[in-house]
Symmetry: C2
Subunit: 450 residues, 2 copies
Amino acid sequence: MKNFKKITLNENEMPTKWYNIMADMPNKPLPPLHPATKEPITPEDLLPLFPMELIKQEAATDRFIDIPEEVLELYKTYRPSPVFRASALEKAIGTSCKIYYKYEGLSYAGSHKANTAIPQAYYNKMEGVKKLTTETGAGQWGSALSFACQYFGIDLEVFMVKISYEQKPYRKMMMNTYNASVIPSPSNLTEAGQQILNQDPDSPGSLGIAISEAVERAAKNPDVKYSLGSVLNHVLMHQTIIGEEALLQMEKAGDYPDIIVGCFGGGSNFSGISFPFIRENILNGKNTRMVAIEPASCPKLTRGKFMYDFGDSVGLTPLLAMYTLGHNFVPAKIHAGGLRYHGAGVLVSQLLKDGLIEAQSKYQKECFDNGVLFARTEAIIPAPEANYAITGAIDEAKKADKEGTPKTILFNLSGHGHFDLMAYDKYFSGELVDHELADAEINASLAKIS
Amino acid sequence: MKNFKKITLNENEMPTKWYNIMADMPNKPLPPLHPATKEPITPEDLLPLFPMELIKQEAATDRFIDIPEEVLELYKTYRPSPVFRASALEKAIGTSCKIYYKYEGLSYAGSHKANTAIPQAYYNKMEGVKKLTTETGAGQWGSALSFACQYFGIDLEVFMVKISYEQKPYRKMMMNTYNASVIPSPSNLTEAGQQILNQDPDSPGSLGIAISEAVERAAKNPDVKYSLGSVLNHVLMHQTIIGEEALLQMEKAGDYPDIIVGCFGGGSNFSGISFPFIRENILNGKNTRMVAIEPASCPKLTRGKFMYDFGDSVGLTPLLAMYTLGHNFVPAKIHAGGLRYHGAGVLVSQLLKDGLIEAQSKYQKECFDNGVLFARTEAIIPAPEANYAITGAIDEAKKADKEGTPKTILFNLSGHGHFDLMAYDKYFSGELVDHELADAEINASLAKIS
């Protein structure tokens, strides 16, 4: 095995197909249901929200789907992304494990979200769409889509979760620079937003609420479509470029991961890195553990319930069969805004139910401890979301050391923290707190699901 | 010629030597003079400030200097950096020219400054230094050195120009995350700072003032050395890794630049991209024009005087033979903080005097116009400093189109603007102004030089 620091791929080695895990799942996910009729939705039901090509991808069963030329061209502005050996971090924690990370923070918007923003904007453009709406939590998704829309000549309106809008003003400015308009959510622009504000004028917002607002705007306007940055099958599939590259890079390094770790909000970066390796487990007898890390304050995978629930807070989306804390659940104001979502994508939920992936939860403060250690050893200041993946990787390494069986660990560093330095500032000044979540609160939220 | 979007190098193609232009200059630069005796300084004079290895590099005449293994190792966390063909920008401005850019914003601190921060911290560590002081303008240099010092186990104290400290709070937080302490300059910690504050309690600071403070701290404390992010010969030499890579990349693209453009503060990023190409002009009969772009509000190259002057505001550094506006010159508060410096490096000054490079000045607002256009086409939001290089490249392209002789242009995109979004916000709200600088003001400043 060569002792690389950075394992790169050339432009011409970049994979040209996305992987569709639907083809290889032992149990296919349950179908989405129409919110009114409770019958499986049809492609026509989704047409007010999405272009037909994405609707087809949502239900596709082909194992691989070609990435369009125009999308590959834009991918090449920041892809293939590097895999690093975390040698300085390994030394700092004194582990015998090998820790690698795939770094998605080199994209123009600083995270993996560009991987699906680009094809979504592209397919909308191909079907003549002139305006999109979307939601964003920490702002990673919103800024990724802002440039993609600008590039393809589409207007964009972003509903940004209010707490993130206040914590991360630079993200808003970034979206403006890319020519998008940004609205703090909940807002008075939609009935959904008004409904929330009537209940709680000081609502910090949530991804679920922001989704309701964006979906409502698209549903009510035939000239506007909607775009989602996580959860849905086609979104998760677009992210598999991460894992497909990582497979090639691990081969170049002459190594293979025993454990893959990703942080978990709706599932997109975790799926991106893990799905191609799950395929290797299923088809090629590999035996890699896939570990999703969620915040202890928003623990749908470890403490939620597998059931049909809405993807948004108000109940405008189809019902999805997923692990959920209830669509009314408003998570505590942790700084990992991208992980503050009540449910998990349908594909990931089914995989967890079937034991093909695992989940763990971590507290905010230990994640920042590890994020700072990572910055001071590996040089990259991670996004607060990515600190959960770092913590998962470090904890697995320590466990393996304790057991005397060193492992090879690969985690996804989904984005940098250049826009999240206020959170680091609060960490250093001792203002970050951990949020204990009582069973009663989860049960009360789940009980509200009709 | 292949139609690449991104031209990359593999880790093993990365150059392993810096280029020392001193070896090939037709006229060698004049020696630095001791501030008290006005005699050429000796290596011993510099020992309170710098480790011996950097003092040797400052006066070295070898054409190439080996990059130490440990430095190469850290370079590999973000190098080789890509060269992009700016095809979307070309299309937007409708030029027949080919525009390429070398992108240095992928380093951990978001700019080219890491290229010299790493070797400077390394050589200090090798000579047992435990603490460094430095100055920073926009914060690019301070954050690059913060991580490098942390990595090599050196404490760091950063004097940050006050106007930038206020405009760019995230840069301070970034340095703190890398474990450095940051002081707004002018401060009361030094006699130099007190002297400035006595004259003007509201002084916005300048790089010259911050250098005075950092130099004073090192000069008065035998356990502390000083580190500078631009101007000096060894700093400019460390940056030549940029141009050495770019030479290989242009060859891969099957192309060669007619014009090279870089923004200009003290000279480090401009020298980094241009020096290796100047060597090709001198030794191999190439005929590339090298164009330095400075702000119209700080025009030492285009309106300054070639003479001996201090590198700092108070007069603690050696006297350097350079183009200068006078060491007391306090530039207008433009957002390109890294370009607010009164003088130009000795090497670059001599090259300009001898006609081996050219200089132009640009106004702030047109630079932001072009920076926004660049972000909306090429996806990367540039640092305000880099907007000057973009403007230089676009203006040269338009000129060539007008003359009917399309050129190949390569510019250095020295860093991203993730920490400078407040400046973009001001641009969009119409708050950015251009600063007209009267001859009388420059003459008055120059008259103060004794």
